[in-house]
Symmetry: C2
Subunit: 365 residues, 2 copies
């Protein structure tokens, strides 16, 4: 039976704790702010409702990373992507050979960032770092004692970052999470970061009313037709970048079909039709994950790849520029650029024209 | 007594009609939509209140440009700057030697645009084209019969576009408008376009709530502290461009002092303190002059100069890019770029390093 440590005790971390404890694994949970998980801490139990229902025991709940990391076979990071860097540095000293780290999700280049930080500190460590494309469990934290699991997605891609796939590691993850779907190109999990297509543009172009705390439904009313055109342009550029790299892109409209089973003619219609969007309200301040996570770990890496490929992405760059001014940040410099992450250049090699010709030939034949 | 034709019968056009008729000039007024000026048309009179008060006769009110232009000594254009181009082309056939055209205001490069369009069609015509830096008369149209003149500004710059100043022309204008202040560098009237610093950014970053028709005071509530930083950045870049050209810039904060007699520590404070801003409401749709005029005839020319000078202006470019997507326009291409207007390159010559050194020397001596 695996010993699994979960770092992050918000919506996702609690849901994973319930999911794994229910399956009988030894579950350890790390927290940052004890007040927020007081009952979970006191009773060493997570109460879950929804798709997973019951009260589930924890093996350990602590903010002692040493204890948490040393005993774990598998470590799940369930935190905002902007925290991956810091957590990687904090856990690095306690890791040992053969451990598996899975980011839920990695956003763009999460696994590479964590892997490179650990390897810089522990060059000889035999570690496996992977990421999921999105959060497997749609969930909401309930007060200081539990979680509501709204949905267990039926197919979420995951991938480990390495030169050659280690099938044992994939097998272990699928043994624990049969719903996860293995893929063998980290660009598939990293570059289909749909949230980054939608959230920053919508917040920036609604920044006045968000700061004024005017009520509106984030997607249904926030994505006015004009803004949907901006989101469309951003997603089009992402697909163009993926295409230039020879990676099959999952377009936003296709994603809407796959995830929500909604067919839409255009972006605006999609936002009007996706059922859960009917109740999601706008945030009441600008400094929230829609910007603080999705810009540095979503739009910035995309823009940086485009720079590398010499593809102009004026709209993506505009949203980054304005975010940096709105929040007084420097995401364009501090975000996940190709250089800062150390993305191997072979992952950024443009599909050669010869390859394209071959593709065509094969299609014709 | 001069015969003066006014093209444009909105707020400004009506105010000029009252101002000039009161002084005894023969005033002709052109209109576009008869319904909007029905009483003015029927009675051939403009009723004015406020700083100019009374009922004032018109010599002619017509939509016949031929009649209007042929008899005029002076032609005032009092229309949105995006209409200058079309009007220049329409009046060109009827112009004769020695006439004076004054744009109120020109926004950026208005006089050059009009001059070049006319000269292209009538190369041998001896015509004088000038522009004011802002509208001399702050005014509001009143129904279909009149106008309220809120303020006659006490010092508004004007300039004629020519290689050497024709002092007779300046004299004629000052005879009619003693409040106008002659300057002899068209860049002073063209590149201190403050509206373009403020309006587009505020609309773009409030575009969601404007489209949703949520009520807010445009300046007081629309320019949240975060957005004031974006406006500050845009204005800083404008001043940098002017500085690179060796033209003294009027910064926004300085302008606020001069025009409103308000001293502010920062941009946000300025927007909170300027008295008339206390009541100005946000527009209820995006396709309004704050974007349709200020982007193509304010931000685009500035961005284009910066391109020419090789100065990066990412924030200005971001606002242009997003406007083009929001409105489905191509202002970046169709707006007043250096190339499209035909701005003489001598107006864009960077201040030479030698000149700067001399400046320093002089300061030291």
């Amino acid at each position: 039976m695996y010993n699994i440590s979960i770092i992050g005790s918000g919506n996702g971390g609690r849901a994973f704790a319930a999911y794994l404890s229910k399956k009988g694994y030894k579950v350890n949970l790390a927290f940052r702010d004890k007040r927020k998980i007081k009952s979970i801490y006191n009773y060493k139990m997570v109460q879950s409702e929804g798709e997973i229902s019951g009260t589930f025991k924890l093996n350990l709940i602590t903010n002692n990373y040493k204890k948490l990391v040393e005993q774990a076979d598998i470590i799940l990071l369930v935190v905002p992507a902007f925290a991956h860097k810091e957590i990687a540095a904090r856990i690095a000293p306690y890791l040992h050979d053969g451990q598996i780290i899975l980011l839920n999700p990695g956003r763009t280049w999460g696994a590479i960032e964590v892997y490179n930080i650990i390897k810089l500190k522990r060059p000889f460590l035999d570690i496996h770092v992977g990421e999921t494309q999105t959060l497997l469990l749609t969930s909401r934290a309930v007060k200081d004692y539990g979680v509501q699991v709204l949905r267990i997605k039926d197919s979420t891609d995951f991938c480990f970052y390495s030169n050659y796939p280690n099938y044992d590691v994939y097998h272990t993850i699928n043994e624990i999470f049969p719903e996860l779907n293995p893929v063998y190109d980290i660009r598939i999990t990293s570059l289909n970061n749909i949230g980054a297509m939608i959230h920053p543009a919508t917040v920036v172009l609604n920044s006045g009313s968000i700061h004024r705390k005017q009520d509106f439904l984030f997607y249904r009313e926030g994505v006015i037709p004009h803004i949907s055109r901006i989101i469309e342009e951003i997603d089009k550029k992402r697909c163009m970048i993926l295409d230039a790299l020879g990676v099959k892109a999952l377009s936003f409209l296709r994603w809407v079909e796959e995830v929500y089973n909604v067919r839409a003619q255009d972006f605006y219609e999609a936002f009007q039709k996706i059922p859960p969007y009917a109740t999601i309200k706008a945030p009441k301040m600008l400094k929230k994950r829609y910007l603080t996570e999705d810009v540095p770990t979503g739009l910035v890496p995309l823009w940086s790849i485009a720079q590398y490929l010499n593809l102009p992405t004026p709209t993506i760059e505009s949203i980054i520029n304005l975010t940096d001014l709105l929040l007084n940040t420097e995401y364009k410099r501090t975000g996940r650029t190709v250089r800062r992450i150390g993305v191997p250049l072979k992952l950024l090699k443009p599909k050669s024209p010869i390859e394209s010709v071959n593709d065509t030939l094969i299609t014709i034949l």
